[in-house]
Amino acid sequence: MNVRLLYFASLADQAGRAEESVETSANNPATLYDEVRQRHGFSLDTGRLRVAVNGQIVDWTHGINEGDEIVFLPPVSGG
């Protein structure tokens, strides 16, 4: 299936892009992150990230569906 990933902050820098569409057979965000992490050399591991699917923060075991917008969230530093 095809999903859309958005990248922010250091993940965007390391991926060299702000978004991408990926073909994946991963059935949850944890597996998907492993795939893209390997490809882009992301330094943060899932213990330091949160993940959002379609604008909602979800568990790493949450299901993934065709067309989902998925965002791996590095530790925030607003304010």
Partner: protein
């Protein structure tokens, strides 16, 4: 009702404050976060803030709704900047009004702490030495 917003342009505190008016309110506490010229011993020239805006809005709204039920408030609102900011620019504005000042101070502090913990906004600091970097705090307290 939108209590939390993400803004790409300058925050006008006078406009933001209008949402706090209430004839029953005796206390108003406003927090402003400004871009300062130093962080952890490094000289800072400029900042960029990046937000995952839809989630930042919903997380911000959730924080302000929770503040309204946790504390005895009349009103609460907040706005966070995105984009490039210079030294002295306002990065975040948080305002609350309440009958009494105890609730106003406690709510104000709780809201800015929650924003810094939960709202998906990231800061990239540009240092005097030419370096820059996204800040990803690791449990250490954020000021």
């Amino acid at each position: 009702m939108n209590r939390f917003s993400v803004s790409e342009s300058r925050i006008d505190p006078a406009i933001e404050k209008q949402g706090l008016d209430d004839v029953g309110a005796g206390a108003c506490v406003i927090f402003e976060g400004w871009v300062r010229n130093h962080n952890e011993g490094k000289s800072v020239h400029q900042l960029d803030y990046q937000a995952y805006a839809p989630l930042a809005r919903s997380e911000g709204e959730a924080i302000l709704s929770e503040a309204m039920s946790r504390f005895k408030l009349r009103a609460a609102s907040a706005v966070h900047r995105t984009g490039s900011l210079a030294i002295g620019d306002m990065a975040v504005w948080v305002g609350v009004s309440a009958d009494h000042r105890d609730a106003a101070y406690n709510a104000s502090r709780w809201i800015i702490d929650e924003i810094k913990l939960r709202v998906p906004i990231w800061k990239n600091e540009h240092y005097a030495d030419g370096e820059s970097g996204w800040l990803h705090p690791d449990n250490t307290p954020v000021d």
